[in-house]
Symmetry: C2
Subunit: 260 residues, 2 copies
Amino acid sequence: MTKIQGARERARGEITTAIKDEARRQLAAHGAAKLSLRAVARELGMVSSALYRYFPNRDDLLTALITDSYDALGAAAEAALAHSAEQGDAHLARWQAVCRAVRGWALDHPHEYALIYGSPVPGYAAPETTTGPAARAALTLITIAADAYAAGALRVPGATEDRCAGPGAGFPAASAGPGPDPSVPLPAAPAPVLVDTRDLTERLDVALPAAAMAQLAAVWAQLFGLLSFELFGQFDGVIAARDEFFDHAVVGLARTAGLV
Amino acid sequence: MTKIQGARERARGEITTAIKDEARRQLAAHGAAKLSLRAVARELGMVSSALYRYFPNRDDLLTALITDSYDALGAAAEAALAHSAEQGDAHLARWQAVCRAVRGWALDHPHEYALIYGSPVPGYAAPETTTGPAARAALTLITIAADAYAAGALRVPGATEDRCAGPGAGFPAASAGPGPDPSVPLPAAPAPVLVDTRDLTERLDVALPAAAMAQLAAVWAQLFGLLSFELFGQFDGVIAARDEFFDHAVVGLARTAGLV
DNA sequence: ACTAAAACAAGAGCAGTGCTCTCGTTCTTG
DNA sequence: CAAGAACGAGAGCACTGCTCTTGTTTTAGT
């Protein structure tokens, strides 16, 4: 009972990737909304109906492209983190490296970025299978924060006694000056949010206080606000120095995340 | 030579708004990508070709909807600011009111939000006419920051000597504690960014340092990262307490903007 | 008040789309 | 080797955005 199902399955795999490749090409050329099954089939030298043997409908082809995009973004983020970590970069430098990698991938694949972080296609709802790859990129920043927390280099909101509540060496508490210094004791997220983020830390199995995870969730979303504004033309005629603007904003995000 | 061009022009205006209303209805029902000129015409009891007398093509109808959406969002933000200001709210409270109003509008009109802040339609480029209404909502937060700056209640990045460089009463400088307190002297944006934002302050005619405007631009984009994540389903299964999460993130944004 | 010109609604038509069904053919497997 | 599944090809349906033509209505100039 050799499970080697030979030429047919192999051909099916090849044709499936060929379809996705051509679809990605059309995506980059004409955008997601104009992605046409017929055009993909025409370009591949097959008839449109034959394509339905591989993808039951257009939305399923889009789903495949979406999961692939999430995976590609996650891989880029993980590669950046690995490279930065093996160079012995500090936490902030790793954070910047990952953010730059995410932006780099987005700039290189604007249509795929729009596919996963832009407006969802109308009737289409992303299936459960996309949540895993979607979390992959976010997990890189989360692990950086968790590493910083373990090293005692993460400011955790709401921690008043010991501002740096990591299990490692304590962070020296700054004696408050005479004036109001609103930035020192960061306000913690309200309780319902902490419930959500505590659940999140357990599901992701990361050693991080719920308050820190709440900051990370907000920062993660805000990062894509920057990217979407840049990619969707909202900064046109407003910000010209895109690289510098992004880098500066990223250290601000690191600050709100509690990173040094 | 009375310029009263009577019934015809009036009818044209009425039909134009009727078309846009029906298009908005279809937008909310089936999404932007499925907006069909034929369906709009059918619902209005006219033939599809007659619609082209009012909008030369589908994209121009979309453009009209986009400008209307920007205007509606801007009006909502301005109304919230006016209402908050006449109640004598502090700067932070006004900031929260405007952000809540923006989110409220977005939640009430998700498809219109996706139209203006989601992925752009493929071949379509927003014309110049959209930049004005697009800036309207942003201007409300900018004026709040400018008011705070005038009142000496805005932390300006890079201002080391007098941390609060407003023309009003000085902000008491906190004596730095023994430990590193990274949050007190906020790093200013790099020079090329400041060039952009200085130009922006001049064009918008607001009395605000370039460094503060750079923070505002980043914060403005980040605000829509939060909204897009919520509206586009990126928070599904992650954050359940949406209101509290948003409110908490908004005060964080106010902090990075320098608001108290 | 009459006429030329502009604006208009309607219909037919074109090229394209997603998707379904049927028809032979080819490959896999018991 | 034969039953059955998978496959490519084609026709066809209902729909789309858009163009062109036709005849009617309203406006504007004399």
